[in-house]
Symmetry: C2
Subunit: 290 residues, 2 copies
C-alpha cells in the first residue's frame, strides 16, 4: 500500500472517530433522530473534504483541535446536503454509500430533520473548537444560497436544459466547489493566520480540483456500475441533467480533468514538501475509480 493510501485510511479513521465523539450519542433523546444522524454520518464516505482540510493545515504547518473540528464541520455540511439531496422532492434516490438513503431507512420527516440538525452540528463543532468569526462566516457562505444551496437550486432549474461550459461550471463552482474551497481554507486558517498569497494559491488549487472532481464524477457516473459507485449509476443522464459528457466525450473529459489537476499542482508548488498531501489528493481525484 502506498504512503498516500495509508494516510487516507488514517484520516478516514480519525474523522470517523472524531464524528462519533462529536455527534450526540444514540442513547440521548430524541433517540431516533440521533441514531439517524449517526446512520448518515458514520461508517462510510471517502472523506475527501476532511482530507483537504487536514492537508491544507499541513501545508501551512498547522494541525490542532481546530483543524480537526473544521474537517468534521465541512464533512457534516456535505453529509447534510446528501441527505436532503436524496429526498423525493429533490433527486429521489434510494441508495447512498451502498446503504438505503435516510428517508428510505427512516422516513422523510426524519431525513429532513437529520439534515437540518447536521447543519447546526457543523457550526456547533466549529464554534466549540474556538473558530474565529471569519471561519464561521466562510463556512456559512460556502453552505448558503451563494454557495452550495445556490448551486443545488441552479442544478434543479437546469434539469432538462442544455447548459454551455460556462453555465455548467457556474453550477459546479457553487454546488460542490464552494464547500471544497471552504475545506481547504478552513484547514489553512486553523493555523491562526494565512498570508494573502498563500490564500490565493490555495483558492486556485481548490477551484481546479473542485471542477476536476466534478468532471471525473460525470465520467465515473457514465462508466461505473451501481455496486462500485455505491450510489445509483447513470442517473444524471437519465434525469436529463447537464453533465460534462453532453459537452465532450469521455476521452476529452479525462484530458480536461488532467489539465485542471496540472493547474492545481502548479498553484501549490510554492508550498514545497509541505504541500505533498494536497498534491496527492489532486492526483487521486483524476485516478480514482469510484
Amino acid at each position: 500500500m502506498t504512503d498516500f493510501a495509508l494516510w487516507t485510511r488514517a484520516v478516514q479513521a480519525r474523522i470517523e472517530a472524531a464524528l462519533a465523539r462529536a455527534l450526540p450519542a444514540p442513547e440521548l433523546e430524541p433517540k431516533r433522530l440521533h441514531e439517524a444522524m449517526r446512520y448518515v454520518s458514520l461508517g462510510g464516505g471517502k472523506r475527501v473534504r476532511p482530507m483537504l482540510a487536514l492537508a491544507a493545515a499541513e501545508a501551512v504547518a498547522a494541525d490542532c483541535a481546530l483543524t480537526e473540528a473544521a474537517a468534521c464541520a465541512v464533512e457534516l455540511i456535505h453529509v447534510y446536503s446528501l441527505t436532503h439531496d436524496d429526498l423525493p422532492c429533490m433527486d429521489d434516490d434510494d441508495l447512498r454509500r451502498g446503504k438505503p438513503t435516510c428517508h428510505v431507512q427512516y422516513d422523510e420527516a426524519t431525513a429532513l430533520l437529520v439534515g437540518d440538525a447536521l447543519q447546526s452540528a457543523a457550526f456547533e463543532i466549529l464554534a466549540e473548537a474556538g473558530a474565529t468569526a471569519e471561519m464561521v462566516a466562510l463556512l456559512a457562505r460556502a453552505a448558503g444560497s451563494r454557495g452550495m444551496c445556490g448551486g443545488q437550486a441552479v442544478d434543479l432549474a437546469s434539469t432538462g436544459k442544455h447548459l454551455d461550459l460556462a453555465e455548467l461550471e457556474f453550477m459546479h463552482i457553487h454546488k460542490t466547489g464552494a464547500l471544497i474551497r471552504a475545506a481547504v481554507l478552513l484547514g489553512a486558517l486553523s493555523s491562526g493566520r494565512l498570508a494573502d498569497d498563500r490564500r490565493a494559491a490555495l483558492e486556485h488549487y481548490a477551484k481546479c480540483i473542485g471542477l476536476a472532481f466534478q468532471v471525473m464524477d460525470d465520467v465515473l457516473d457514465a462508466e461505473a456500475d451501481t455496486a462500485t459507485l455505491g450510489k445509483t449509476a447513470g442517473k444524471d443522464a437519465a434525469q436529463g441533467k447537464a453533465t460534462y459528457l453532453t459537452l465532450m466525450d469521455i476521452r476529452e473529459a479525462r484530458g480536461y480533468a488532467r489539465e485542471l489537476i496540472d493547474d492545481a499542482l502548479a498553484a501549490i508548488a510554492p508550498f514545497g514538501e509541505r504541500g505533498q498531501r494536497l498534491a496527492e489528493i489532486a492526483r487521486f481525484i483524476v485516478e480514482r475509480q469510484y
Copy 2:
C-alpha cells in the same frame, strides 16, 4: 397607542429593514431561490424573537450592530424552521402568516433549499457582525438536535400519543424554548460580557415566557379562527397532537400562563427600569389575541 405598541412597531420595522439588507438581493443568481428566501422572511411575522434579543440587550445596556445581527439570526432560524415545518412530510400546511406557504407558492424542492439556505444565512449574519465563538455555539445548540430540531422530532413522534405535563413541556422547551432562550442570551451577550447571576436570571425568564407562549398558542389555536391567526386554526387538535388543552381546560391554561409570566417578571426584577421591555413582552404574551 401605548408606548410598548409603538416600540414593537419600531422593532418590526427595524428588523424588516435589517433582514431586507442582509438577505441576498432577488436580482442575484439563483434568483428564484433568493426571491423565495425573501418571500418567507419579509413582510410579516410578529418578530417576537428579535424583540426579545433587543429587549435583553437593553436590559444590560447594550445595543450595537452585533445585537441587531443576533436578532436577525434567531429570526432566520425561526423562519427556516417554519418553512420546513410546513412541508408535506411534516405538518403539510398551506397557509402561513396569511400567505401561501413556501412549497405552495414555489415548490417543495425550493422550500427545502430556502430553509437550508436561511439556516446558513443566520450563521453568516451572526459571524459577519463579529460574534464570539460562544455566541455561535449557543445559536447552533439551540437550533440543533438537542434544541429546536430535537423538539420537532419529539413532536412528530408523539402525534396521536397522550403526553403528561412533563413530557409536553420537555417537547416545548426544545421545540420553541431553546430558540427563545438563545434570542434572550444572544441579545445580552452582544454587550460583550454577562455576569453569571444576570445570565441565570435571563435564562429563567426565557424558560417561563417560552412555556407561557406555548400555552397561549394552544389556547389561541383552539379559540381563534383562521383569519385572525394567519395560519390554519384548530389543526393541532385535528392532527391528534398533544396540547395543554388535553391536560387542562382553557381557563386553567390561561391561569397557568399567567403564573409563568409572574415567575418571569420576578426573575428580571433585579434589572429594574432597564428590564421594562422584557417585562412588557412577557405581559404581551398572555394578553395577545393572535
